[in-house]
């Protein structure tokens, strides 16, 4: 069932409720509403899984194409779905760049956390803010040299004043910065992490 159909159903139920207007109907409607919401969430998860497999296919294709970088390049609108997945996982999104010393220092901790992710149902995405001139010369060689296993994407959107507050309204824009979220809550950290600090924060999301 598509999300559109569910919404349409909901609309009819509400109209029905307004016309009939008695308590028993309302009780029934509440039940149907809850059920629909559950269904809706179910569909959402399926859809997000689908997009994920599509992205990994895309990555694969880019790797095989010799001209491209092998990393997805996103503007903010394209990145946003990765910051709002509605699955059961904990998502750790780290904003970094090869020119940022403290970012490089904390990367191994994120890599280690990512390796533990399968067993713990969490995943790491490394969002690089390297500038276009650095993609080929710095970023790609860096990923290869450090053998990064986490998913790396590039965010290339110069209108930063527009998207920075959308990621967190208190973010001044300095990196390293990290977003941790699951379906229920999200927290943003404009700071570097040690492995222990990071692990502790992630475990508080359980």
């Amino acid at each position: 069932m598509s999300a559109y159909k569910i919404l349409l159903n909901l609309f009819f139920i509400i109209v029905h409720c307004i016309i009939l207007w008695d308590l028993e109907t309302i009780a029934m409607i509440r039940m149907i509403l809850c059920f629909s919401i559950l269904l809706f969430i179910g569909c959402g998860i399926k859809e997000s899984k689908k997009t994920k497999s599509e992205t990994s296919e895309l990555v694969k294709n880019e790797f095989t194409s010799p001209d491209s970088l092998g990393i997805p390049i996103y503007n903010f609108d394209e990145l946003e779905p990765l910051l709002n997945k509605m699955d059961d996982k904990i998502h750790i999104i780290n904003f970094w760049a090869t020119w940022c010393g403290p970012c490089i220092k904390e990367l191994p901790y994120f890599e280690k956390i990512n390796q533990e992710g399968k067993a713990n149902n969490w995943e790491v995405i490394l969002v690089s803010l390297d500038m276009p001139s650095m993609w080929k010369s710095k970023l790609v060689p860096f990923i290869k040299a450090k053998n990064l296993r986490s998913e790396v994407v590039v965010l290339n959107d110069p209108d930063q004043n527009n998207w920075i507050p959308k990621i967190d309204k208190n973010w001044s824009g300095s990196i390293p910065a990290t977003l941790i979220y699951n379906r229920k809550e999200r927290k943003f950290y404009e700071q570097p992490f040690t492995y222990e600090m990071l692990k502790k924060e992630i475990q508080e999301f359980r």
Binding site: C17, Q160, N161, S172, S174, I175, E190
Partner: protein
Amino acid sequence: MKYILVNFVFITFFLSYTGYLKEIDKGYGIGDYATDFSLPDINGKKVSLADYKDAKGFLVIFTCNTCPYAIAYEDRIIDLDKKYKTKGVPVIAINPNDPNLQPSDGVEYMKKRAMQKGFTFPYLVDIGQEIFPQYGATKTPHVYLLEKNKLGNVVRYIGTIDDNYSNASAVKTKYVENAVDAMLKGEEISITTTRAIGCSIKSR
């Protein structure tokens, strides 16, 4: 219907509440009085805002030698100084990084960079790293527009220079220029704070 309404109100309240849990308050906001300082330039000469008797205001810019964003904006900072110094709003650049953590931000390297680029403004060392935390600067480059009045220097704008770091010719909105122009005309500044990616200030 009432139940549904109550539910909606509850959900809306819950959502809005979780979004506004933490409100960080660090450094200056718009309208605050900014501190003056006495910091050495690349030749060791102390510079203060009070030295500029005829200034109408200042562009205090926290910047450095090493950050690619700072480097991307160097020419535009020089242009700002050239354009507004004559109108009474000079650029004062301050390097807030601890050279022990970022050796290429040491004063010798600052001197070199200023010579290479032909800086037309003072490039100061935040000795002891006491000034940038008071301003609330977190990264380079980070611009503070101050307006001088009888009591001191009021913060009028905080943020980035424009809306495109990577390509000066693709800029659509020049935040700093718009702010200075409005300030000099005595008009209200339409955008008073902006955010941009920058390199975190290296401090202990």
